[in-house]
Amino acid sequence: MAFASIGDIDVAARVEETIKRRGADKKVVASIWTSLAGAGGVLAIVAMFVTWYSDDRTATAWFSGFLPPIALLLVVSAAAVLVAKPLRIVGADRRVDSDLFAFVVIGGGALLMMLRQLSRGGLSDMVYLLIIPLVAWTFSVVRALGRPNRSTRLELEQVALGLAAIGAGLIVVKRLLDPEYATGGWAWGLLAGLAVVAAALAACQYLGILSIFQVTLFVALALSVIILVILLVQVIGDGWPVLSERLGDFWSGTLRSRSGDERLGISQGILGSFWIAGFVVMIAFPIGIAAAVYLEEYAPRNRFTTMLDIIVRNLAGVPSVVYGLLGLFLFVKGTVVTHWIIDRVNSVWASIFDEEQLIEVGQSTLFAGGVTLAILVLPIVIITAAEAVRAVPQSLREGAYGVGATKWEVIRSQVLPFAAPGILTGTLLALARAVGEAAPLILVGAITGRLAPRDSMFSGVDQFFGQFADRFTAMPIVIVGWVRNSGVDSGFGPAAGAAIVMLLVFVIMMNSVAVLLRNYFEKKRA
């Protein structure tokens, strides 16, 4: 029929339409398949490292509980998209974006798995909680990578897809055949290698990287990501026994002298790190931002302020141990001045709470640790905040001055709001650094061994403030202590790994808050 009436058809329009449709189809297929290939690659990398670095027990926990469901999900979602596309449920000309569709399938599958696990008797090993964020993260990263004008070529795509599909399929098959999953061997290495190649090809495809030069640059970039992945896998692998078996107890437990102790945990470390972060926020942020505003807005440009600027920059590069020494002398051993202040504080304390003394001279206190780290990051806060303030366009200042704003009004209503995203980013990075520091805390006397906790910091004002005068510990210190002990008592190794994971989660959460806040302020100034 169509051939019969070919004379009436506008051939050019037809061709154009076809090309358009093909282009749209290709794009959708490409993005889905490459996403899956990328995910398969990540999976394979994970599998590879687990195989290489873990003992039997860990490997079994990983493979039976974690990897196969994800691989299965990937395959199922790819199949779902393949089926849905010809049925015109999804696609470029439909309301539902294919990626979204695949995402929903994966998310739904993960949810189902969690529910199944719940009905089986709880989420005690917490594994399945990790599935959804991991899959979502992989997807969003791969999708984000694909944003800028990608040029797609189907052949490479298919190669990548094929390899990744083999990788994912092998994982599933091996799981079906061999429920015990002994340690890997050559098959796993080959599988992982295949999938890594697939992922690399897929990534190059996505980014439109075709020349050797570009590939080299990309590899340089990828190296840093790979290092992060290695680190994560290693650490998670180390800490897996603890993370999967007793996360809840580990979270609420305390420092113990033996790793076999059921009450071993990180609650004191978390609390200490939390308060240190609190000190940084309360001390370093206001002082740092105020100093930056002074330097950029008020200070005259002369030799003295130039020198100040250089000094601050150099302070930011001073090794943190040196700040530890400073903290030790100023806040722990104490000078005449600090002793005098301690006496005054103690006498006031005694008159209010009828207790002997708050601070003991020569005592390492949480206060000392917090203030030392606040001083440590102060130069970083100043520098980043000053950069942000400097980046505020002069035209904004002029506009505000032009209608009769005073200097302070200009700073408050124009400069600070505009600089807020930059200031926030810098300050929260500084905060993350403070939370991760161990060296200065060792010098000011953080505890690595047993620590008697206060009953409750909220049971009274004196208890609340009293904890700042107590001995303390912090997450990095806990980790250092456990790693050091692991030579004597091997059970501390997994504990240290789990603590590192917790610290990373803590830092990532803080950085996420920073990103959210920055986005909020950026939107506000747009």
Binding site: P300, R301, P393, S395, L396, R397, E398, G399, A400, Y401, G402, V403, G404, A405, T406, E409, S413, Q414, P417, F418, K524, R525, A526
Partner: protein, 288 residues
């Protein structure tokens, strides 16, 4: 030309009349009077020996080639040059008989009375409403109703109200360049100034937006004294009542360029029968 709606605000700034200022104050319709005015940036003299009278209710155009100091002179009228740490002024500059650079004069107060519109539209990254209400707010007006009135009146005056009345809470940076510049004019008007200084207000705009701003200036002339710096001689000829022609003199030894006021007269005179040869060369396009 003299406006009737503008009250006699700004006739005195809140200082004691200095002897010099009293001597300088003469005719009521002179808004700015510069005598032997020189402006320095550090050791560099940007303009020298300027004598000029800006009259009430007129548009005065400052024209001249680049680097001739016309913007510097304009910025000294509302003490914007104070923002540059090295800037310094010699000679006398009075605003309605008051020495503008008298130590007791508050530059913030000066800028409230003498509004300014800049070369590039510089909307604050806030809503249109907040932009226009910025001046009144810092002047202490808090009541929402009063602010609403001021914003509507200012935007109407700047011929922008009809275009933006339904999206006052939208971000000002989302408007077109011409709209942004008119909003900046509205923002300047909202502080209820006496004088509007415009520093090449159309140089970043297309011809249509430029024409609208020019119309607006002629409209605003009823209420405000306007001083405009422009590179565009046709613009000066179209909108201004008086024109001041500046040029740069190059020092033979130091090769520094110092601006001088060559000629200041009615626009029609400057453009038809200029007294100075340099002016003629410039406006006929032979130089600059």
């Amino acid at each position: 030309m003299t406006s009737t709606d503008v009250p006699a605000k700004g006739v005195t700034l809140s200082i004691d009349e200095s002897p010099a200022a009293t001597a300088a104050s003469q005719a009521q319709d002179v808004v700015f009077r510069a005598r032997d005015l020189s402006v320095f940036y550090g050791d560099f003299r940007a303009v020298r020996n300027v004598d000029i009278d800006i009259r009430q209710g007129e548009i005065t155009a400052l024209i001249g080639p680049s680097g001739c100091g016309k913007s510097t002179v304009l910025r000294s009228f509302n003490r914007m040059n104070d923002l540059i740490p090295t800037a310094r002024l010699e000679g006398l500059l009075t605003y309605r008989g008051v020495d503008l650079y008298h130590p007791k004069v508050d530059p913030v107060e000066v800028r409230r009375r003498i509004g300014m519109v800049f070369q590039k539209p510089n909307p604050f990254p806030k809503s249109i409403f907040d932009n226009v209400a910025y001046g009144p707010r810092i002047a202490g007006i808090k009541k929402k109703g009063e602010l609403n009135e001021i914003v509507e009146a200012s935007l109407t005056r700047a011929a922008l109200w009809e275009e933006v009345k339904d999206r006052l809470s939208a971000s000002a940076t989302g408007m077109s360049g011409g709209q942004q510049q008119r909003m900046c004019i509205a923002r300047a008007i909202a502080s209820n100034p006496d004088v509007l200084l415009m520093d090449e207000p159309c140089s970043a705009l297309d011809p249509i937006a430029t024409a609208r701003i020019e119309e607006l200036m002629i409209e605003l002339k009823k209420d405000y004294t306007i001083v405009i710096v422009t590179h565009n001689m046709q613009q000066a000829a179209r909108v201004s009542d008086r024109t001041a022609f500046f040029t740069a003199e190059v020092d033979a030894k130091t090769e520094q360029r110092t601006g001088v006021l060559v000629e200041f007269d009615l626009t029609t005179t400057v453009f038809s029968t200029p007294a100075d040869e340099r002016t003629e060369n410039y406006i006929t396009g032979r130089f600059g």
